[in-house]
Protein backbone atom coordinates (compact mmCIF):
# COMPACT_ATOMS: atom_id res chain seq x y z
CA UNK A 1 0.00 0.00 0.00
CA UNK A 2 1.08 3.54 -0.64
CA UNK A 3 1.85 5.58 2.38
CA UNK A 4 -0.41 8.62 2.92
CA UNK A 5 1.54 11.57 4.29
CA UNK A 6 0.78 12.72 7.80
CA UNK A 7 -0.42 16.21 6.91
CA UNK A 8 -2.92 14.93 4.34
CA UNK A 9 -4.40 12.51 6.87
CA UNK A 10 -4.76 15.37 9.34
CA UNK A 11 -6.43 17.58 6.76
CA UNK A 12 -8.86 14.83 5.77
CA UNK A 13 -9.69 14.23 9.43
CA UNK A 14 -10.35 17.92 10.00
CA UNK A 15 -12.57 18.14 6.92
CA UNK A 16 -14.53 15.10 8.01
CA UNK A 17 -15.16 16.58 11.48
CA UNK A 18 -16.21 19.88 9.99
CA UNK A 19 -18.59 18.22 7.56
CA UNK A 20 -20.13 16.23 10.40
CA UNK A 21 -20.61 19.40 12.46
CA UNK A 22 -22.10 21.27 9.53
CA UNK A 23 -24.53 18.53 8.61
CA UNK A 24 -25.63 18.46 12.25
CA UNK A 25 -26.32 22.21 12.12
CA UNK A 26 -28.00 22.33 8.72
CA UNK A 27 -29.58 18.92 8.57
CA UNK A 28 -32.66 19.59 6.46
CA UNK A 29 -30.75 20.65 3.34
CA UNK A 30 -30.10 17.12 2.21
CA UNK A 31 -31.80 17.19 -1.16
CA UNK A 32 -30.01 19.41 -3.64
CA UNK A 33 -33.26 20.25 -5.39
CA UNK A 34 -34.26 22.41 -2.43
CA UNK A 35 -30.91 24.18 -2.17
CA UNK A 36 -31.40 27.75 -3.37
CA UNK A 37 -27.71 28.33 -4.04
CA UNK A 38 -27.46 25.98 -7.02
CA UNK A 39 -28.36 27.75 -10.26
CA UNK A 40 -31.66 26.61 -11.67
CA UNK A 41 -30.28 25.62 -15.08
CA UNK A 42 -27.80 23.23 -13.52
CA UNK A 43 -30.49 21.54 -11.51
CA UNK A 44 -32.53 21.18 -14.67
CA UNK A 45 -29.62 19.69 -16.47
CA UNK A 46 -28.87 17.14 -13.79
CA UNK A 47 -32.53 16.24 -13.61
CA UNK A 48 -32.61 15.76 -17.36
CA UNK A 49 -29.47 13.65 -17.22
CA UNK A 50 -30.93 11.47 -14.52
CA UNK A 51 -34.13 10.90 -16.45
CA UNK A 52 -32.01 10.19 -19.53
CA UNK A 53 -30.59 7.36 -17.47
CA UNK A 54 -27.34 6.71 -19.32
CA UNK A 55 -25.09 9.62 -18.35
CA UNK A 56 -23.91 8.33 -15.00
CA UNK A 57 -20.88 10.62 -14.89
CA UNK A 58 -22.92 13.79 -15.23
CA UNK A 59 -25.18 12.82 -12.36
CA UNK A 60 -22.21 11.97 -10.20
CA UNK A 61 -20.70 15.37 -10.86
CA UNK A 62 -23.93 17.18 -10.03
CA UNK A 63 -24.35 15.26 -6.81
CA UNK A 64 -20.81 15.97 -5.84
CA UNK A 65 -21.26 19.66 -6.52
CA UNK A 66 -24.35 19.60 -4.31
CA UNK A 67 -22.48 17.84 -1.56
CA UNK A 68 -19.68 20.37 -1.66
CA UNK A 69 -22.15 23.22 -1.46
CA UNK A 70 -23.91 21.72 1.55
CA UNK A 71 -20.59 21.19 3.26
CA UNK A 72 -19.69 24.87 2.89
CA UNK A 73 -20.02 27.01 5.99
CA UNK A 74 -23.52 28.43 6.24
CA UNK A 75 -23.38 30.33 9.49
CA UNK A 76 -23.28 34.15 9.39
CA UNK A 77 -25.13 34.65 6.11
CA UNK A 78 -23.21 35.58 2.93
CA UNK A 79 -19.43 35.06 3.39
CA UNK A 80 -16.98 37.78 2.51
CA UNK A 81 -15.87 37.52 -1.12
CA UNK A 82 -18.93 35.65 -2.30
CA UNK A 83 -20.01 36.04 -5.90
CA UNK A 84 -23.34 37.23 -7.27
CA UNK A 85 -26.27 35.52 -5.61
CA UNK A 86 -24.10 34.66 -2.62
CA UNK A 87 -22.39 31.70 -4.29
CA UNK A 88 -19.05 30.85 -2.75
CA UNK A 89 -17.94 28.73 -5.68
CA UNK A 90 -18.54 28.69 -9.39
CA UNK A 91 -18.92 25.76 -11.67
CA UNK A 92 -16.16 26.17 -14.21
CA UNK A 93 -16.77 23.10 -16.26
CA UNK A 94 -18.55 19.81 -16.27
CA UNK A 95 -16.38 16.94 -17.40
CA UNK A 96 -18.46 14.36 -19.18
CA UNK A 97 -17.67 10.75 -18.49
CA UNK A 98 -16.69 9.91 -22.05
CA UNK A 99 -14.24 12.77 -22.36
CA UNK A 100 -11.91 11.46 -19.69
CA UNK A 101 -8.99 9.62 -21.26
CA UNK A 102 -8.69 6.01 -20.40
CA UNK A 103 -5.28 4.40 -19.93
CA UNK A 104 -4.96 1.84 -22.70
CA UNK A 105 -1.48 0.37 -22.02
CA UNK A 106 -1.28 -2.83 -20.03
CA UNK A 107 0.24 -2.24 -16.60
CA UNK A 108 3.96 -3.04 -16.50
CA UNK A 109 5.38 -4.98 -13.60
CA UNK A 110 7.88 -2.52 -12.12
CA UNK A 111 10.05 -2.43 -9.04
CA UNK A 112 11.82 0.43 -7.32
CA UNK A 113 15.31 1.15 -8.60
CA UNK A 114 16.35 1.48 -4.98
CA UNK A 115 16.95 -1.09 -3.59
CA UNK A 116 16.28 -3.63 -6.34
CA UNK A 117 18.65 -2.31 -9.02
CA UNK A 118 21.12 -0.19 -7.04
CA UNK A 119 21.87 -3.01 -4.64
CA UNK A 120 22.66 -5.36 -7.53
CA UNK A 121 24.85 -2.75 -9.18
CA UNK A 122 26.66 -2.05 -5.94
CA UNK A 123 27.38 -5.72 -5.35
CA UNK A 124 28.57 -6.13 -8.95
CA UNK A 125 30.93 -3.15 -8.62
CA UNK A 126 32.20 -4.48 -5.30
CA UNK A 127 32.80 -7.94 -6.72
CA UNK A 128 34.58 -6.45 -9.72
CA UNK A 129 36.84 -4.35 -7.48
CA UNK A 130 37.59 -7.31 -5.24
CA UNK A 131 38.46 -9.49 -8.20
CA UNK A 132 40.75 -6.84 -9.67
CA UNK A 133 42.43 -6.19 -6.35
CA UNK A 134 43.18 -9.85 -5.72
CA UNK A 135 44.23 -10.47 -9.30
CA UNK A 136 46.54 -7.43 -9.28
CA UNK A 137 48.00 -8.55 -6.00
CA UNK A 138 48.85 -11.98 -7.40
CA UNK A 139 49.73 -11.26 -11.04
CA UNK A 140 52.10 -8.47 -11.99
CA UNK A 141 51.68 -6.46 -15.16
CA UNK A 142 54.55 -7.16 -17.56
CA UNK A 143 57.45 -4.70 -17.77
CA UNK A 144 60.14 -5.96 -20.13
CA UNK A 145 63.49 -4.38 -20.94
CA UNK A 146 63.45 -0.69 -21.79
CA UNK A 147 62.45 0.02 -25.39
CA UNK A 148 65.25 -0.39 -27.90
CA UNK A 149 64.42 0.49 -31.52
CA UNK A 150 67.51 -1.41 -32.69
CA UNK A 151 66.56 -4.71 -31.11
CA UNK A 152 63.45 -6.35 -32.56
CA UNK A 153 62.04 -9.07 -30.33
CA UNK A 154 61.04 -12.28 -32.04
CA UNK A 155 58.09 -12.61 -32.33
CA UNK A 156 56.72 -9.03 -32.19
CA UNK A 157 53.04 -9.12 -31.38
CA UNK A 158 50.35 -6.45 -31.26
CA UNK A 159 47.99 -6.18 -28.24
CA UNK A 160 45.73 -9.21 -28.04
CA UNK A 161 42.64 -7.51 -29.48
CA UNK A 162 44.62 -6.70 -32.64
CA UNK A 163 46.16 -10.16 -32.96
CA UNK A 164 43.30 -11.25 -35.20
CA UNK A 165 44.37 -8.54 -37.64
CA UNK A 166 48.01 -9.57 -37.35
CA UNK A 167 46.95 -13.12 -38.06
CA UNK A 168 45.14 -11.91 -41.20
CA UNK A 169 48.39 -10.23 -42.27
CA UNK A 170 49.92 -13.67 -42.76
CA UNK A 171 47.22 -14.48 -45.32
CA UNK A 172 46.44 -11.25 -47.20
CA UNK A 173 48.05 -8.11 -48.46
CA UNK A 174 48.39 -5.59 -45.60
CA UNK A 175 45.91 -3.20 -47.18
CA UNK A 176 43.23 -5.90 -47.14
CA UNK A 177 44.12 -7.43 -43.80
CA UNK A 178 44.96 -4.26 -41.88
CA UNK A 179 42.46 -1.76 -43.25
CA UNK A 180 39.81 -3.12 -45.61
CA UNK A 181 38.60 -6.18 -43.69
CA UNK A 182 38.40 -4.51 -40.25
CA UNK A 183 36.88 -1.44 -41.89
CA UNK A 184 34.15 -3.50 -43.53
CA UNK A 185 33.54 -5.39 -40.29
CA UNK A 186 33.19 -2.13 -38.36
CA UNK A 187 30.83 -0.59 -40.90
CA UNK A 188 28.70 -3.75 -40.96
CA UNK A 189 28.58 -3.63 -37.18
CA UNK A 190 27.45 0.00 -37.20
CA UNK A 191 24.83 -0.70 -39.85
CA UNK A 192 23.50 -3.85 -38.14
CA UNK A 193 20.29 -2.26 -36.80
CA UNK A 194 19.54 -0.72 -40.20
CA UNK A 195 20.28 -3.89 -42.19
CA UNK A 196 18.26 -6.10 -39.85
CA UNK A 197 14.69 -5.28 -40.90
CA UNK A 198 13.16 -8.03 -38.78
CA UNK A 199 11.19 -6.31 -35.98
CA UNK A 200 11.06 -9.35 -33.69
CA UNK A 201 13.56 -9.85 -30.92
CA UNK A 202 12.59 -13.40 -30.11
CA UNK A 203 15.51 -15.80 -30.61
CA UNK A 204 13.43 -18.21 -32.70
CA UNK A 205 12.62 -15.45 -35.23
CA UNK A 206 16.20 -14.28 -35.58
CA UNK A 207 18.07 -17.43 -36.49
CA UNK A 208 19.74 -15.82 -39.50
CA UNK A 209 21.10 -12.76 -37.67
CA UNK A 210 22.13 -14.82 -34.67
CA UNK A 211 24.04 -17.17 -36.95
CA UNK A 212 25.71 -14.30 -38.80
CA UNK A 213 26.84 -12.64 -35.58
CA UNK A 214 28.07 -15.89 -34.09
CA UNK A 215 30.07 -16.68 -37.21
CA UNK A 216 31.48 -13.16 -37.15
CA UNK A 217 32.45 -13.28 -33.48
CA UNK A 218 33.87 -16.79 -33.77
CA UNK A 219 35.90 -15.69 -36.81
CA UNK A 220 37.68 -13.01 -34.76
CA UNK A 221 37.90 -15.14 -31.62
CA UNK A 222 39.58 -17.99 -33.46
CA UNK A 223 42.01 -15.63 -35.19
CA UNK A 224 42.88 -13.93 -31.88
CA UNK A 225 43.46 -17.28 -30.18
CA UNK A 226 45.65 -18.54 -33.00
CA UNK A 227 47.60 -15.27 -33.09
CA UNK A 228 48.02 -15.28 -29.31
CA UNK A 229 48.95 -18.85 -28.54
CA UNK A 230 49.83 -20.64 -31.78
CA UNK A 231 52.36 -18.19 -33.20
CA UNK A 232 56.01 -18.36 -32.20
CA UNK A 233 59.31 -16.92 -33.45
CA UNK A 234 58.99 -15.43 -36.92
CA UNK A 235 55.22 -15.57 -36.39
CA UNK A 236 55.40 -19.20 -37.49
CA UNK A 237 52.81 -21.71 -36.38
CA UNK A 238 53.63 -23.47 -33.10
CA UNK A 239 51.83 -25.53 -30.50
CA UNK A 240 51.85 -23.93 -27.06
CA UNK A 241 52.22 -27.33 -25.37
CA UNK A 242 55.27 -28.11 -27.48
CA UNK A 243 57.20 -24.84 -27.75
CA UNK A 244 55.71 -22.73 -24.95
CA UNK A 245 53.59 -19.60 -25.09
CA UNK A 246 54.85 -16.48 -26.86
CA UNK A 247 52.31 -14.08 -25.46
CA UNK A 248 52.34 -11.11 -23.09
CA UNK A 249 49.23 -9.25 -22.00
Amino acid sequence: MTEIPEHLLKRAQAAREKAAADSGAAAPSSGEASDPRIPQHLLDRSKAARSGGDAGGGVAVAEKAGAVVTAAPTAGGVPVGAGPGGHTQRLLTVVKSGSIQEAKGAPVDKVHTWPHLLAVEFVAALACTAFLLVFSWVVNAPLLQAADPNKTPNPSKAPWYFLGLQELLTMFHPMIAGVTLPGVALILLILAPYLDRNPSNKPEDRKFMTTMMTVHLMFWAVLVIIGSFFRGPGFNFTFPWRDGIFFEL
Partner: protein
Protein backbone atom coordinates in the same frame (compact mmCIF):
# COMPACT_ATOMS: atom_id res chain seq x y z
CA UNK B 1 21.91 21.71 44.82
CA UNK B 2 18.37 22.10 43.60
CA UNK B 3 19.65 24.01 40.62
CA UNK B 4 21.83 21.14 39.63
CA UNK B 5 18.92 18.71 39.85
CA UNK B 6 16.75 20.94 37.68
CA UNK B 7 19.41 21.26 35.03
CA UNK B 8 21.33 17.99 34.92
CA UNK B 9 24.28 18.06 32.58
CA UNK B 10 23.19 16.78 29.18
CA UNK B 11 24.49 13.33 28.44
CA UNK B 12 26.80 12.72 25.52
CA UNK B 13 23.94 11.16 23.57
CA UNK B 14 21.70 14.17 24.09
CA UNK B 15 24.46 16.52 23.04
CA UNK B 16 25.15 14.50 19.90
CA UNK B 17 21.46 14.52 19.05
CA UNK B 18 21.36 18.29 19.54
CA UNK B 19 24.37 18.84 17.31
CA UNK B 20 22.84 16.56 14.70
CA UNK B 21 19.64 18.61 14.78
CA UNK B 22 21.55 21.85 14.45
CA UNK B 23 23.53 20.55 11.50
CA UNK B 24 20.44 19.23 9.74
CA UNK B 25 18.63 22.51 10.31
CA UNK B 26 21.51 24.64 9.02
CA UNK B 27 21.38 26.50 5.77
CA UNK B 28 24.54 24.81 4.51
CA UNK B 29 23.07 21.35 5.01
CA UNK B 30 19.79 22.29 3.39
CA UNK B 31 21.58 23.82 0.45
CA UNK B 32 23.47 20.57 -0.18
CA UNK B 33 20.52 18.20 0.08
CA UNK B 34 17.37 18.96 -1.85
CA UNK B 35 13.94 19.01 -0.19
CA UNK B 36 12.84 15.42 0.09
CA UNK B 37 16.38 14.07 0.18
CA UNK B 38 16.75 11.18 2.58
CA UNK B 39 19.69 13.01 4.15
CA UNK B 40 17.36 15.78 5.27
CA UNK B 41 14.71 13.82 7.05
CA UNK B 42 16.17 10.39 7.60
CA UNK B 43 15.39 7.13 5.84
CA UNK B 44 12.71 4.68 6.84
CA UNK B 45 11.82 2.02 4.34
CA UNK B 46 8.67 3.07 2.50
CA UNK B 47 7.72 3.29 -1.18
CA UNK B 48 7.83 7.08 -0.90
CA UNK B 49 11.37 7.09 0.47
CA UNK B 50 12.47 4.49 -2.08
CA UNK B 51 11.44 6.92 -4.78
CA UNK B 52 13.14 9.84 -3.03
CA UNK B 53 16.49 8.02 -2.97
CA UNK B 54 16.60 8.27 -6.76
CA UNK B 55 14.50 11.33 -7.38
CA UNK B 56 16.34 13.68 -5.05
CA UNK B 57 19.88 12.65 -5.86
CA UNK B 58 22.23 12.77 -8.82
CA UNK B 59 21.35 9.13 -9.51
CA UNK B 60 18.26 10.44 -11.26
CA UNK B 61 20.57 11.17 -14.21
CA UNK B 62 21.26 7.46 -14.60
CA UNK B 63 18.14 5.66 -13.43
CA UNK B 64 14.41 6.23 -13.33
CA UNK B 65 12.57 5.76 -10.05
CA UNK B 66 11.15 2.44 -11.16
CA UNK B 67 12.42 -0.21 -13.57
CA UNK B 68 10.79 -3.25 -15.12
CA UNK B 69 11.00 -6.21 -12.83
CA UNK B 70 12.70 -8.48 -15.34
CA UNK B 71 15.23 -5.75 -16.20
CA UNK B 72 16.90 -6.18 -12.83
CA UNK B 73 17.52 -9.87 -13.37
CA UNK B 74 21.29 -10.28 -13.32
CA UNK B 75 21.09 -13.25 -15.67
CA UNK B 76 19.62 -10.99 -18.34
CA UNK B 77 22.11 -8.13 -18.59
CA UNK B 78 24.98 -9.67 -16.61
CA UNK B 79 25.63 -6.06 -15.50
CA UNK B 80 28.03 -5.75 -18.43
CA UNK B 81 27.23 -2.18 -19.43
CA UNK B 82 27.32 -0.95 -15.86
CA UNK B 83 30.55 -2.82 -15.18
CA UNK B 84 32.16 -1.27 -18.27
CA UNK B 85 31.30 2.15 -16.88
CA UNK B 86 32.53 1.19 -13.45
CA UNK B 87 35.81 -0.07 -14.91
CA UNK B 88 36.17 3.25 -16.71
CA UNK B 89 35.86 5.06 -13.37
CA UNK B 90 38.33 2.66 -11.77
CA UNK B 91 40.75 3.24 -14.66
CA UNK B 92 40.40 7.01 -14.29
CA UNK B 93 41.19 6.86 -10.59
CA UNK B 94 44.19 4.54 -10.92
CA UNK B 95 45.32 6.43 -14.03
CA UNK B 96 45.41 9.76 -12.19
CA UNK B 97 47.55 8.09 -9.52
CA UNK B 98 49.98 6.84 -12.20
CA UNK B 99 50.19 10.30 -13.78
CA UNK B 100 51.86 11.67 -10.64
CA UNK B 101 54.88 9.47 -11.23
CA UNK B 102 55.25 9.43 -14.98
CA UNK B 103 56.99 11.64 -17.57
CA UNK B 104 56.18 10.89 -21.21
CA UNK B 105 59.66 11.15 -22.68
CA UNK B 106 61.76 8.38 -24.15
CA UNK B 107 64.53 9.14 -21.65
CA UNK B 108 62.34 8.94 -18.52
CA UNK B 109 59.25 6.84 -19.19
CA UNK B 110 60.59 3.33 -18.58
CA UNK B 111 62.67 4.44 -15.60
CA UNK B 112 59.64 6.15 -14.07
CA UNK B 113 57.59 2.96 -14.29
CA UNK B 114 60.46 1.01 -12.79
CA UNK B 115 60.72 3.49 -9.91
CA UNK B 116 56.95 3.46 -9.46
CA UNK B 117 56.99 -0.32 -9.09
CA UNK B 118 59.94 -0.51 -6.74
CA UNK B 119 59.82 2.57 -4.52
CA UNK B 120 56.31 4.04 -4.52
CA UNK B 121 53.85 2.80 -1.91
CA UNK B 122 51.16 0.76 -3.67
CA UNK B 123 52.75 1.77 -6.98
CA UNK B 124 53.02 -1.77 -8.28
CA UNK B 125 49.52 -2.67 -7.14
CA UNK B 126 47.93 0.39 -8.73
CA UNK B 127 49.79 -0.15 -11.99
CA UNK B 128 48.68 -3.78 -12.04
CA UNK B 129 45.09 -2.73 -11.40
CA UNK B 130 45.24 -0.19 -14.20
CA UNK B 131 46.59 -2.75 -16.62
CA UNK B 132 44.19 -5.56 -15.76
CA UNK B 133 41.19 -3.26 -15.54
CA UNK B 134 42.02 -2.00 -19.03
CA UNK B 135 42.04 -5.52 -20.48
CA UNK B 136 38.90 -6.35 -18.51
CA UNK B 137 37.15 -3.25 -19.87
CA UNK B 138 37.90 -4.23 -23.47
CA UNK B 139 36.46 -7.63 -22.67
CA UNK B 140 33.37 -6.35 -20.87
CA UNK B 141 32.55 -3.79 -23.58
CA UNK B 142 32.89 -6.53 -26.18
CA UNK B 143 30.67 -8.91 -24.21
CA UNK B 144 28.16 -6.11 -23.61
CA UNK B 145 27.93 -5.67 -27.37
CA UNK B 146 27.41 -9.40 -27.90
CA UNK B 147 24.74 -9.50 -25.19
CA UNK B 148 22.87 -6.58 -26.73
CA UNK B 149 23.05 -8.18 -30.15
CA UNK B 150 21.79 -11.57 -29.08
CA UNK B 151 18.83 -10.01 -27.27
CA UNK B 152 17.98 -7.98 -30.37
CA UNK B 153 18.17 -4.92 -28.13
CA UNK B 154 19.52 -2.75 -30.95
CA UNK B 155 16.17 -2.67 -32.75
CA UNK B 156 13.95 0.40 -33.05
CA UNK B 157 13.99 2.79 -31.30
CA UNK B 158 17.46 1.87 -30.11
CA UNK B 159 19.29 1.79 -33.48
CA UNK B 160 21.23 4.97 -32.94
CA UNK B 161 22.28 4.00 -29.44
CA UNK B 162 23.81 0.87 -30.96
CA UNK B 163 25.81 3.11 -33.32
CA UNK B 164 27.04 5.13 -30.34
CA UNK B 165 27.87 1.84 -28.66
CA UNK B 166 30.07 0.78 -31.58
CA UNK B 167 31.82 4.17 -31.36
CA UNK B 168 32.38 3.55 -27.66
CA UNK B 169 33.84 0.11 -28.41
CA UNK B 170 36.24 1.67 -30.91
CA UNK B 171 37.22 4.38 -28.44
CA UNK B 172 37.81 1.76 -25.76
CA UNK B 173 40.17 -0.11 -28.09
CA UNK B 174 41.98 3.13 -28.95
CA UNK B 175 42.32 4.05 -25.27
CA UNK B 176 43.76 0.65 -24.52
CA UNK B 177 46.10 0.80 -27.51
CA UNK B 178 47.42 4.30 -26.74
CA UNK B 179 48.04 3.22 -23.15
CA UNK B 180 49.95 0.19 -24.38
CA UNK B 181 52.88 2.34 -25.55
CA UNK B 182 53.36 4.34 -22.38
CA UNK B 183 55.52 1.93 -20.29
CA UNK B 184 58.07 2.25 -23.11
CA UNK B 185 59.42 -1.26 -22.79
CA UNK B 186 60.15 -3.72 -25.59
CA UNK B 187 56.60 -5.12 -25.43
CA UNK B 188 55.06 -1.64 -25.79
CA UNK B 189 57.36 -0.40 -28.52
CA UNK B 190 57.03 -3.39 -30.81
CA UNK B 191 53.34 -3.99 -30.26
CA UNK B 192 52.71 -0.41 -31.29
CA UNK B 193 55.14 -0.74 -34.19
CA UNK B 194 53.13 -3.68 -35.53
CA UNK B 195 49.84 -1.83 -34.99
CA UNK B 196 50.89 1.44 -36.60
CA UNK B 197 52.52 -0.33 -39.55
CA UNK B 198 49.10 -1.80 -40.25
CA UNK B 199 47.50 1.65 -40.21
CA UNK B 200 50.16 2.81 -42.64
CA UNK B 201 48.43 0.71 -45.28
CA UNK B 202 45.33 2.93 -45.26
CA UNK B 203 44.51 3.54 -48.91
CA UNK B 204 45.49 6.86 -50.55
CA UNK B 205 46.94 8.67 -47.52
CA UNK B 206 48.51 5.80 -45.59
CA UNK B 207 51.88 7.42 -44.98
CA UNK B 208 50.23 10.65 -43.82
CA UNK B 209 48.08 8.76 -41.34
CA UNK B 210 51.14 7.03 -39.99
CA UNK B 211 53.08 10.31 -39.80
CA UNK B 212 50.31 12.03 -37.82
CA UNK B 213 49.98 9.07 -35.46
CA UNK B 214 53.69 8.76 -34.80
CA UNK B 215 54.55 12.46 -34.87
CA UNK B 216 57.38 11.51 -37.23
CA UNK B 217 58.49 8.67 -39.46
CA UNK B 218 59.71 6.49 -36.58
CA UNK B 219 58.32 5.74 -33.12
CA UNK B 220 60.14 8.02 -30.69
CA UNK B 221 59.77 10.61 -27.97
CA UNK B 222 57.27 12.58 -30.07
CA UNK B 223 55.09 9.50 -30.44
CA UNK B 224 55.21 8.96 -26.71
CA UNK B 225 54.09 12.52 -25.95
CA UNK B 226 51.38 12.37 -28.61
CA UNK B 227 49.94 9.09 -27.38
CA UNK B 228 50.19 10.21 -23.77
CA UNK B 229 48.04 13.28 -24.49
CA UNK B 230 45.63 11.13 -26.46
CA UNK B 231 45.48 8.57 -23.67
CA UNK B 232 45.06 10.82 -20.63
CA UNK B 233 43.16 13.74 -22.10
CA UNK B 234 41.66 13.62 -25.54
CA UNK B 235 40.24 10.11 -25.77
CA UNK B 236 38.80 10.17 -22.22
CA UNK B 237 37.19 13.52 -23.03
CA UNK B 238 35.63 12.17 -26.20
CA UNK B 239 34.51 8.90 -24.62
CA UNK B 240 32.86 10.70 -21.69
CA UNK B 241 30.78 12.75 -24.11
CA UNK B 242 29.72 9.65 -26.00
CA UNK B 243 28.98 7.83 -22.75
CA UNK B 244 26.75 10.70 -21.64
CA UNK B 245 24.77 10.44 -24.89
CA UNK B 246 24.71 6.65 -24.60
CA UNK B 247 23.29 6.69 -21.06
CA UNK B 248 20.78 9.39 -21.90
CA UNK B 249 19.55 7.39 -24.87
CA UNK B 250 19.29 4.25 -22.76
CA UNK B 251 16.75 6.04 -20.57
CA UNK B 252 14.96 7.79 -23.42
CA UNK B 253 14.67 4.64 -25.53
CA UNK B 254 12.86 2.62 -22.92
CA UNK B 255 15.12 1.70 -20.03
CA UNK B 256 18.03 -0.54 -19.30
CA UNK B 257 16.84 -3.75 -20.88
CA UNK B 258 14.03 -5.86 -22.14
CA UNK B 259 11.51 -5.58 -24.96
CA UNK B 260 9.66 -2.29 -25.04
Amino acid sequence: MAKVLDNPRPTLKERAAKIGEQVQGSQAWNSIFRPGSIFRKGYTDSPRNRSYVIMNSVLYHLHPVKVKRHAVKVSYTLCLGGLSFFLFILLTVTGIFLMFFYRPTAANAWQDIQTLQTSVTFGLLVRNMHRWAAHLMVLSVFLHMARVFYHGAYKAPREFNWVIGVVLLTLTLLLSFTGYLLPWDQLALWAVAVGTNMMGYTPVFGSQVRFVLLGGVEIGSETLLRWYVLHVLMLPFVIVIFMAIHFWRVRKDGGISGPL
